[in-house]
């Protein structure tokens, strides 16, 4: 047993000594592979974290939302539907929601204006999301002026900001009173943006939404499950796309490793011949190649995973922020809950370490079974 370990250590000694002969090239290769695995692992951790976040946080969103559709577009829905909805058996409550978008031309930012149902806002005041507070440098007691779509200036005193830990869900939210909301947008009386419905028995959501569809034929009914599902698939398949793209890069790298291992120079072949002549077995030569591929890719994986963890959970995925942000000037400053699953780490491991190692070993097979007397010929 000790002998086997000692022997493998000698083989590692040899592997390192021979890698050190082209230190610059091999370190460069290691660095590039680490970078690649780092991006892959970051995308995976960020995607998984956001998916988990959406799944748990949005589980508290309204059970059913009823929207009115007009010519394929979201339209306002009359409050008169509320009474009819409340009559449906199984519905615990139905409530009109008022929300809409405001484009702040000065800041080139989109805000979501909302009338909250859980608190009363004094007319002429607003509570703002903390990303807006940061962007416009606002605090309690300050005031903002918004130019309404009807070209009228509105002044809102800042009555408070939403807690900063809520930025992931309410970075751009501006809470205003109903009177202000309707006046600002010229929102017609008797209409609301959509209707939130809660049901008595969560198992009856499907039945209830079918009833709602029959009652309001031009409505679109969105259930909480739909919301969760859309987030699941949103991050799922986009992260899948990125994984596929990066898997392409990993594959390219594997091909490089394969080519490097298969295209042995005459020099390298002679070296294998020498090793065999002085008493190395075929398996020793292959073991050296195994260590070469394994040490490089395992090292790259360990370093890259650690960096990816720091990147995503301590630096908020800063490198991906430009892609997530897009044209937006408003971007939540969020701290992700570190969600790691063993399966996810195993996937990254098998995607990066195994193919690279195999690509280093397999092509050497043929060179390794070279006759030991070749060096004498």
């Amino acid at each position: 047993m000790n002998r086997t370990i000692e022997r493998q250590r000698y083989l590692i000694d040899f592997t390192i000594a021979s890698l050190a002969r082209r230190r610059g090239r091999n370190l460069g290769l290691f660095a590039v592979y680490t970078l690649l695995v780092f991006v892959l692992a970051s995308a995976s951790l960020l995607g998984y974290g956001l998916r988990k976040e959406a799944r748990t946080v949005l589980a508290a969103s309204p059970e059913i939302l009823v929207q009115h559709l007009l010519a394929g577009r979201h339209d306002l829905i009359p409050e008169s539907h509320l009474a009819a909805l409340r009559d449906i058996r199984g519905i615990a409550a139905a409530e009109g929601r008022l929300w809409g978008y405001y484009y702040d031309a000065g800041m080139r930012a989109n805000y979501t204006l909302m009338v909250p149902s859980d608190r009363t806002i004094e007319p002429g005041t607003a509570i703002i999301g903390s990303a807006i507070a940061r962007l416009r440098n606002l605090g309690e007691g300050d005031a903002v002026h918004f130019l309404s779509p009807k070209a009228k200036m509105f002044r809102f005193g800042i009555a408070g900001t939403l807690p900063s830990e809520s930025e992931l869900v309410a970075a751009d939210v501006v809470l205003v009173s109903e009177a202000d909301f309707r006046a600002f947008f010229g929102f017609p009386a008797g209409m609301v943006t959509d209707i939130a419905v809660s049901v008595r028995n969560p198992k009856e959501v499907a039945t209830v939404s079918a009833k709602i569809s029959r009652l309001i034929v031009d409505a679109r009914v969105v259930t909480r499950d739909d919301i969760l599902r859309s987030y699941e698939s949103l991050f799922d398949w986009r992260q899948g796309m990125i994984t596929v793209l990066l898997a392409g890069a990993v594959l390219a790298f594997v091909i490089l490793a394969w080519d490097k291992a298969a295209g042995l120079s005459a020099e390298e072949r002679r070296e294998i011949g020498i090793l065999k002549a002085i008493g190395w077995e075929t398996s020793d030569v292959i073991a050296v190649k195994f260590w070469e591929g394994g040490l490089v890719s395992l090292g790259a994986f360990l370093v890259a995973y650690t960096l990816a963890y720091l990147h995503v959970f301590h630096f908020g995925g800063a490198l991906f922020a430009p892609a997530l942000k897009g044209w937006a000037t408003l971007y939540p400053d969020f701290r992700m809950v570190p969600e790691i699953s063993g399966q996810q780490i195993a996937t990254i491991f098998f995607l990066t370490v195994v193919p690279y190692t195999l690509a280093t070993i397999v092509p050497v097979w043929r060179a390794a079974i070279i006759d030991p007397d070749t060096v004498m010929r």
Partner: protein, 230 residues
């Protein structure tokens, strides 16, 4: 070793690329007994088959026909793995162009044949140092082998051949690239090894070697056959 030869070859033939158009009959009808503790030189012009014979003696290759007996054991039919094991423990090789692995240090090169055996590292290092001191290149241990002079490279190659303490040292054209002074030094090393009880088998067409006092036996070869000896 009681009377019977250390290494015996009977009816050996070696054919390369057998059955193909580029078939080469390198050796035919070789019968040769080698005694332990002696210095034997296989002499002949290039193409006489002496190097091929050396590969058969050193278990680097198997004969196409005939029998190789090492210490009374028939090894000509053994699978590659067993030959490797025998080679590791019984033979040390000094190749014509030394075949040191460039980029590695002298010490790393010397220790290479011992790696698959998994000996404890301090012991192996001590052995390596001892050999390099014995061959008077101890101060070059950490130098990359490409920095060595011809004589130093040969001594590094000899140290590598000796690291597993083999009974037999095989050297192919050891003085081909050496001047007179270095050849004399090499013969000194051969004398030292012989004094330590090693069996040496060399190939050469260099009269400086063949006529050396330390040589016990010269086997003359031509066209793949043994044509004489003394």
């Amino acid at each position: 070793m009681t009377g019977s030869p250390f290494l015996a070859l009977q009816g050996i033939a070696k054919i390369y690329n057998e059955g193909r158009h580029n078939e080469v009959r390198a050796l035919a009808d070789i019968d040769l007994d080698l005694e332990a503790g002696k210095v034997t030189v296989l002499m002949g012009p290039s193409g006489s088959g002496k190097t091929t014979l050396l590969t058969l003696v050193g278990c680097l290759a198997r004969p196409s026909a005939g029998r190789v007996t090492l210490e009374g054991r028939d090894i000509s039919g053994m699978p590659e793995r067993f030959l490797t094991a025998i080679r590791q423990r019984t033979f040390g090789f000094v190749f014509q162009r030394f075949n040191l692995i460039p980029g590695l240090t002298v010490a790393d090169n010397v220790m290479l044949p011992a790696y698959p055996l998994g000996r404890p590292h301090p012991e192996l290092k001590a052995r390596c140092r001892e050999l390099l001191e014995m061959l008077r290149i101890g101060d070059r241990a950490d130098a990359p082998v490409q920095w060595l002079s011809g004589g130093e490279a040969q001594r590094a190659a000899i140290a590598r051949a000796l690291v597993n303490d083999p009974a037999v040292v095989i050297a192919d054209e050891p003085t081909a690239n050496l001047d007179t002074a270095l050849t004399a030094e090499f013969i000194g090393v051969v004398e030292m090894l012989k004094a330590q009880g090693k069996t040496l088998i060399l190939t050469s067409h260099d009269p400086r070697i063949c006529d050396a006092a330390v040589v016990d036996r010269v086997v003359e070869m031509r066209d793949g056959r043994i044509v004489g000896g003394r």
